[in-house]
């Protein structure tokens, strides 16, 4: 089968998957867990517990604060110490529930055994309800509530469920590890989502640099006898894991500007989300754990880790468990090196979507001085959305919102390919993030004005 990929743009950073051979280890419980109320895209969750309450693992502690929002469950058992704003990763104040850990007592009804439950429930609505009740959000990075994605608006039908196992960001290996260690659970999760979507085919997209994962997943499909699911081997290219890029690679379809994947008949879910869906529906276990990679170029092989962590664990606790910040690390990043966020506050708590603690050395992260644009066009070649970053940069400087909209600033996926490929070190994406927000704001304001 020929290897496939998305048609335009993309870059080829070194994949640096140093932690790929390290099995998932379970982290011990922290003394205190801080559970953020804004772990998902959309409205923050509203706490439903009070200070002094005793909580068990898996108990609901916050309910959705809007249509696009999610339930939050206690990741530990103990006493609620406080409900107050606390600094997140970026140092901004976000409401957190602080829980002092006492023992490890799980709420009733959660199946903690390892037995594989293969029977798929019949009712799609019940599956979606269960996913919602268990607070499942997309674990590919954007943390979009999964139940919203699995319920397409009326008149739109999913033709293909794409499972994102590309893990195109360098360094990260958590998705790879779960594909190796829990392939059957992931596939049953996919089958559950197929059922929820009313039956459609499913494709697991895996990049060619993970041949083991391809083998294991294919074997698991054969063993489970799931004819509706296949594995697609994709060329290694960043940002293959971008929703629109993955759809283009797997389905050969383009999602129009301003449209959603469902308009192209696609629903994309991360393999981690699929695993969470399995645990939620078959085992009644809410989303309170996730897998995260602790890695860095300067770390020796034995200090590279893939950890199963409880959500709410402070990053500093994980860093300590992994042996502290290594010498030579000048920047800590949560997420991959391309799209991840710098950890300005290591005391911040992990959230549902945390995927890594990445240590970067000075040679990989300190920016060089920007020089003048020489119009080489490398940024335009690299842009997977077909934009012209050099032009957008000039328009950003001029603050010309109309021209920015005409040149599709709003389609930017913030993948960083332009800034990665720029030989003049121009901080393109820094400006684009602001401009994209302004353009989307203007479009929304216009739409709202038209409605009235």
């Amino acid at each position: 089968m020929p290897k496939i990929t998305f048609p335009i743009g993309g870059v080829h950073p070194h994949d640096s998957k140093f932690a790929a051979d390290r099995p998932i280890e379970v982290l011990p419980l922290p003394p205190v867990a801080y559970v953020s109320m804004a772990q998902h895209l959309g409205a923050p969750a509203k706490p439903v517990v009070a200070v002094g309450d005793a909580v068990k693992v898996g108990q609901v502690i916050a309910e959705p604060g809007g249509f696009i929002s999610a339930f939050v469950h206690s990741p530990v058992s103990g006493t609620v110490k406080s409900i107050a704003p606390r600094k997140d990763l970026a140092g901004n104040m976000v409401p957190h529930i602080e829980i002092a850990v006492e023992g490890d007592e799980w709420a009733e009804g959660i199946d903690l055994s390892d037995t594989l439950v293969t029977a798929i429930p019949d009712d799609p609505a019940a599956i979606i309800e269960k996913i919602k009740a268990c607070g499942i959000v997309g674990l590919g990075g954007a943390t979009f509530p999964t139940h919203v994605k699995l319920a397409p608006p009326p008149g739109k039908k999913a033709e293909c469920l794409i499972l994102n196992g590309t893990e195109c960001e360098p360094y990260l290996t958590s998705d790879y590890r779960i594909m190796l260690e829990r392939p059957k659970e992931i596939l049953i999760g996919a089958a559950l989502m197929q059922k929820a979507l009313g039956g459609c085919r499913a494709v697991v997209g895996i990049e060619e640099n993970k041949p083991e994962a391809v083998k294991v997943m294919r074997a698991a499909i054969a063993e489970l006898g799931l004819p509706q699911i296949e594995v697609a081997v994709l060329k290694k290219k960043y940002p293959q894991g971008g929703e629109k890029q993955l759809i283009a690679a797997v389905m050969r379809r383009e999602v129009k500007s301003g449209a959603l994947p469902i308009d192209a008949g696609a629903v994309v879910q991360n393999v981690g989300t699929s695993l969470a869906v399995y645990e939620a529906v078959q085992k009644n276990k809410p989303l309170i754990t996730n897998v995260l990679t602790v890695t860095g170029k300067m770390l020796p092989a034995e200090r590279q880790h893939n950890y199963l962590y409880r959500i709410g664990m402070p990053l500093s606790f994980i860093i300590e468990q992994a042996g502290g910040v290594p010498e030579g690390a000048v920047k800590l990043v949560s997420g991959g090196p391309m799209m991840g966020k710098a950890i300005a506050n290591p005391d911040a708590a992990t959230v549902k979507g945390s995927s890594s603690v990445l240590y970067l050395g000075a040679e990989d992260t300190v920016r060089k001085e920007a020089t003048a644009c020489i119009r080489c066009g490398r940024c335009a070649d690299a842009c997977p959305m077909g934009l012209e970053p050099f032009l957008l940069n000039r328009l950003c400087k001029a603050g010309d919102l109309e021209a920015l909209e005409a040149n599709a600033m709003q389609d930017c996926i913030e993948c960083g390919c332009c800034i990665y490929s720029c030989p003049a070190n121009i901080p393109l994406l820094d400006r684009f993030r602001i401009a994209k927000g302004q353009v989307i704001g203007a479009i929304r304001a216009r739409a709202a004005a038209q409605k009235q």
Binding site: N92, M93, K341, N345, P427
Partner: protein, 294 residues
């Protein structure tokens, strides 16, 4: 030879004459009737086109002012009362005089008071920096120091001091156009009344964290102790979210709050004498004793 020159002159002059006549009639036919007062007002205005009045420029201000029923929504902050008096005279309105204003910085987190805990090497723009994270100090409310305000100021009244990394405002040059207020992502700059003879009091901090947290982030932070609020006898201090704010319309410039502030986050500007803290504290103590007796 002479003939060629002569013919050229004649033809070009004739052409010019004919076109002039055509243009004369076209100009007459398509003449735009414009209120002559617009030109007059525009002449009276400073002509900085800064947009501080809320209009696209001085001409836009003038044409809008001509059509307006009164001057309530038209005030040129750059020209101030003097220019507005002329504008009002042209339009035949009564002028509501406004107190002259000036921009003040409500952050006192200089480099030595507010240690840097990380380094930022992205685009040097406060807006970009603020969109990424809380900043390179522990204070999530203070000045980011990238100089968006300096860039926004059309009058060169703002400059980042390289020692403190805070912007400094040149009162002489500041026209209170408000461009810096809009440019600051943390709304640290505020337009306040200049005050009598340039005297004014303000809280140079917007940190909403609780005392110990704020103190750890910045030695000059308002720690939300509420001392100023309890001291003020004019009800000029608004105290909420762990930070004080002085309402300049009520402030009587007694400087008692400034004397009582434990961190020096209340600033007095333009006073002829430096503040004698002990004397003021003594005065407050005596007043309280008398009140207790009564």
């Amino acid at each position: 030879m002479t003939g060629t020159i002569l013919w050229t002159i004649l033809i070009l002059s004739g052409l010019g004459l004919v076109l002039a006549v055509v243009l004369f009639f076209i100009a007459k036919k398509f003449k735009v009737e414009e209120d002559p007062r617009i030109d007059e007002i525009e002449k009276a205005l400073p002509g900085a086109n800064c947009g501080g009045c809320g209009y696209a420029g001085c001409r836009a201000f003038a044409s809008s002012a001509v059509a307006a029923p009164d001057l309530e929504k038209h005030f040129c902050p750059v020209g101030g009362n003097a220019v507005m008096k002329q504008v009002a005279a042209i339009l035949g309105f009564e002028l509501q005089e406004k107190a002259p204003q000036v921009a003040v910085l409500r952050c006192n987190g200089s480099c030595e008071a507010r240690p840097r805990v990380n380094t930022y090497d992205g685009l040097q723009s406060c807006r970009v920096k603020a969109s990424l994270y809380s900043g390179d100090t522990l204070c999530a409310y203070g000045c980011l120091g990238c100089g968006d305000c300096e860039e926004a100021c059309a009058f060169g009244a703002l400059h980042i001091n390289p020692q403190t990394l805070l912007p400094e405002i040149d009162e002489e040059k500041c026209t209170a156009c408000g461009a810096c207020v809009k440019a600051c992502p943390r709304t640290l700059l505020e337009l306040r009344n200049k005050g009598p003879r340039g005297m004014r009091e303000f809280v140079a901090c917007r940190n909403r964290d609780k005392g110990p947290v704020a103190k750890k982030a910045c030695a000059n932070a308002c720690i939300g102790c509420g001392m100023c609020f309890r001291t003020c006898t004019h009800g000029a201090i608004v105290f909420e979210n762990n930070v004080s704010y002085i309402d300049f319309s009520k402030c009587k410039l007694c400087r008692e709050c400034e004397a009582m502030c434990p961190t020096g986050s209340i600033h007095g500007v333009g006073f002829p004498k430096p503040l004698d803290k002990e004397a003021v504290k003594e005065r407050i103590r005596k007043r309280k004793e008398e009140a207790a007796h009564a």
